[in-house]
């Protein structure tokens, strides 16, 4: 008997025909609320779990809404044919989707019953139990690693990376399929030392073969206007030099023995983000 999904999820967007958040054509569900405060974040509307108002072109828009599980499933089912034909599926992203695991857990049986591939795009800063409760039914984790140096991590994201690295290590140890995503921002994590530290960390993981994809995500400024619309301020960031991106790709690709992908500006993960607000 599968659980009925009665609960409400708190989202800020749903993006269909997402082709950058996992394999194939996907519907990406963006959960509201995040446990990191990355200074370069391009989804500032995703940070707080509470509903907010954005002022856009003279019109006030509410950001954040609650959606019933059945209603969400109905929408996710719409593109079943596209998922199947493109080896795509559904991606839960955010914000941090792992902050709403009860809701996601209630949806999973319904998605699995329809043979829909499920990916979770996570930044990792949640209790380990959250992953343990879901990992059997999740086909792929898109795991963002930002900075390995603990001091720099706290400085730029507001939190320690200890729990993040622990969760990543445990997922790798369980040989959970993982796509490793590396947002790269000039002046934040684009030094050779950053690359070396990341390489060392990955080399320390004996089961790293479960990392099947590597995506290097250069910073872009597409989400900057949203800060203003939310009445927030942000510092100015820049895209990294292409030579550093190449170095990231080459070094980390070699460590993982996989061919890395350089994501385009459409990627929706931490450096990108949907521009539609419901």
């Amino acid at each position: 008997m599968t659980a009925v999904p009665p609960s409400q999820g708190r989202l800020f967007d749903i993006q269909r025909y997402s082709v950058s958040d996992g394999p194939g054509i996907r519907t990406t569900v963006f959960f509201k609320g995040c446990s990191l405060r990355c200074s370069w974040c391009h989804n500032p509307e995703a940070l707080l779990s509470k509903k907010q108002t954005m002022h856009c072109n003279g019109i006030d828009k509410q950001v954040g809404y609650d959606i019933d599980g059945l209603e969400l499933l109905k929408l996710l089912y719409r593109d079943k044919s596209l998922y199947q034909k493109s080896d795509g599926g559904v991606t839960f992203s955010g914000g941090e989707p792992m902050l709403q695991t009860d809701y996601i857990r209630s949806l999973l049986p319904y998605l699995k019953r329809e043979n829909i591939h499920v990916a979770i795009d996570t930044a990792g800063n949640v209790p380990s139990s959250a992953y343990q409760s879901l990992s059997d039914e999740v086909d792929l984790f898109l795991f963002d690693l930002k900075i390995i140096d603990p001091v720099k991590h706290r400085q730029h994201t507001g939190v320690s990376n200890k729990q993040i690295l622990k969760n990543f290590t445990q997922l790798v140890a369980r040989q959970q399929p993982i796509e490793l995503r590396l947002p790269v921002i000039k002046g934040i994590n684009d030094s050779e030392a950053d690359i070396k530290q990341l390489a060392s960390f990955l080399l320390s993981l004996p089961q790293r073969a479960s990392i099947t994809e590597l995506k290097v995500l250069p910073y872009h400024a597409m989400g900057r206007s949203k800060y203003q619309q939310l009445g927030m301020t942000t510092a100015i960031f820049e895209a990294p030099d292409t030579s550093i991106l190449a170095q990231y790709q080459q070094t980390i690709g070699q460590v993982l023995d996989i061919d890395p992908t350089l994501a385009s500006s459409q990627s929706n993960t931490c450096t990108g983000g949907p521009d539609g607000v419901r």
Partner: protein, 753 residues
Amino acid sequence: MGFDDFKQAMHNEMDAWYASYPIDISEMTSSLDAQISEETSGYAMRGHIYDVAAAQMGVKLFPHCPFYFELASGRERNMWGMEGIGGYIKNSDGYQCLRHKYQSDTAQMWDKGLFIINDFIDNDHHAMGVDIILKKGFQGILCDAKRALRDLHLNDEQQTWLNTVIKGCLCAKALGDKFARHAEQLLTESTSARSSLTNTAIGFLNRIKDTASRVPWQRPETFYEAINTLIMARELFNTLDGVGICTYGRLDKVLLPYYRNDLKHGRISYDEAYELCLALVSLTDFRWDYNQEQVETSTTITLGGLDSEGEVVDNIVTEMFFDAVVECNTLSPKVNIRVSSRHNKRFFESAVHVSRNTRSSVSFLNDDAIVTAMVNAKMERHHALNYVAGGCQEVVAEGAQVSSRACWYLNLSRILSIVLGQDSARTYQTLAVNQRGAIMPPDLNAITSFELLYQHVIVTLKAVSIEFANHLANYQRHWKQVNPAPLYSATLEGCLTNAADMSAGGARYTSTTYATGAFATLVDSLLAIKEVVFDSKQLPLTELVEALNNNFDNQQPLQQQLLTELPYYGDDSDKSNIMAARLLKDIEQIQRTCQNFAGSNYHPAFFSYHTNIYLGMDTPATADGRPAGRPVSRSASPSDYKGNSRRNPATDVHSLKYLDFKGYPGAAVQYMTLPVAKEQSDKILTAVVQTFVENGGSIVELQFNDVEALKDAQQHPEKYPNLSVRVCGFSAKFTALDKTVQQEVIERLSQVA
């Protein structure tokens, strides 16, 4: 020897020849002037043209082109059926006076922006009866004409027509002989020391010398002869009959038996056949000059689909043409790929690969929807199964149907403008005089519910459609006098047995369609009015109309709300899907009730070309938030100008589940603009096209370009001499496009960038 060895020489020879245009044809026109008077019937005039061409017209061979086809007819380089000897009748006073009268009548009847009309006859977008030509040759057609003369009870007009067909066939024979003699002459000259002919050219000329007298007079026997038959037949019709034939038809379906037979007899290798395919594809491009302003793709080919027995066409010749189109990567030919639920994934992947890797325009035509719609329109299944695109995407049953279209474009969004009282008195007078729109213009205060408004739209659309169709039919009745095409007609089922030209309704099917566009602009406007006027009662209809009339001056928040906050067709919301489905059904039923000059019901269709830009220029602001003068939406596509992110290929194809295009035998074109990104892989786009077919779409063209490159090309055209874009069913050099069209392409691409 390979294609690369002669490609450049072939291109140079063709360029040099066409640079010498216009050709002096005064001798031929003088002969015609001497024989033709105001009393001469259209058929007799055409007969004189055939005679004069047979006796006096020169032929041109390009030594490094394996094919023979070019006639010194005076036809311009970038023209199909106009100009030159074939355009003699069309350029006569009789036709031109009628045409001008038709245009001026139409302008008197309607405000600008409701219709764009070019002509009362569709002289282009036709498809020749390929099967008949290949099966019988012109000799066989001549025999059939003689048989009809002998066996049928005929009036004078019918006898004249059949005798003209015979003259046309004899003209084809005479011109074939001229090609053979010309080849022989060039070969004789090649023995002189000064000859620059290569061995390749000598080989080609020898083959032409041995073939041209036989083919297309007689039926072709080989792969080479079959291809040349199609090229020659097309040129004959374009040049002599004054009709624009831009399609070679279903090349893979018709050429396969010749290829197999040649292989069986050891007459051809795969490489030799592929080389001919490359030459044919290139020929279509070299024949045209794309550097001239507003030049669109010249030629269409159709590949894939189901054959007359309903079996999948996906063979070695299909692959050859797929590969040739990608290898040539030219602007021409347009490639119309017929797909169906019966085609396998590999076929879809190959087709999508072609779409992504050629500059040419590639459309996917869904047999499941189109064939069913044609059958629903009472066409026989085997005819429907043999449809091709007679132009960009104008479907027509090859060899059986004459479909007039793409010369009169209807802007649906203007129907709502009429209802809202935004038109001038002339429109209302036209409708009132003819008692079709007794409530014109309606009292806005009396429209107290959305249902009432919707009914006004439907009644008005019906009144406008029928009025326009009747007016058009009155002019179309003159077709057989002002531009008959007996030789071409004789290749169509029905014409010989009826002893009647296609312009007189002789073919098995004579249909007309409206090239209808702005569907999304109308749906979105109705959705917006329903929401803000009737559901939320945010403002009364009169105030909304006032805002529209003032082009949203000082009403930017309202305009922004209309543009971005409300449901719209393509967002896949329940509201928009229900509205679109309802309107689609009603438009179908209205168009179906219109009748053409031959007494046949119209074939409902959606098709815009790029008239959406020009129709939009004369359209006031619309309730979907679109400001006055901006383009209206294209064809049956969702609007490209809504400016938010709720629409994407997934919502587009899912919305189709609610729409029934099986009542649209003229097909309904959708365009899908996609960002250029490496994530748009063959696999992803294959899934999109397959789901488009599965969900019942009719025709889709995928369009992708780097918007930044286009913007740069506007500033620095010299840097982008070869940058091409898919406009609307055709490709063009971006820098050769009209600035307005350039801007429209950039705007819609910016929406997805």
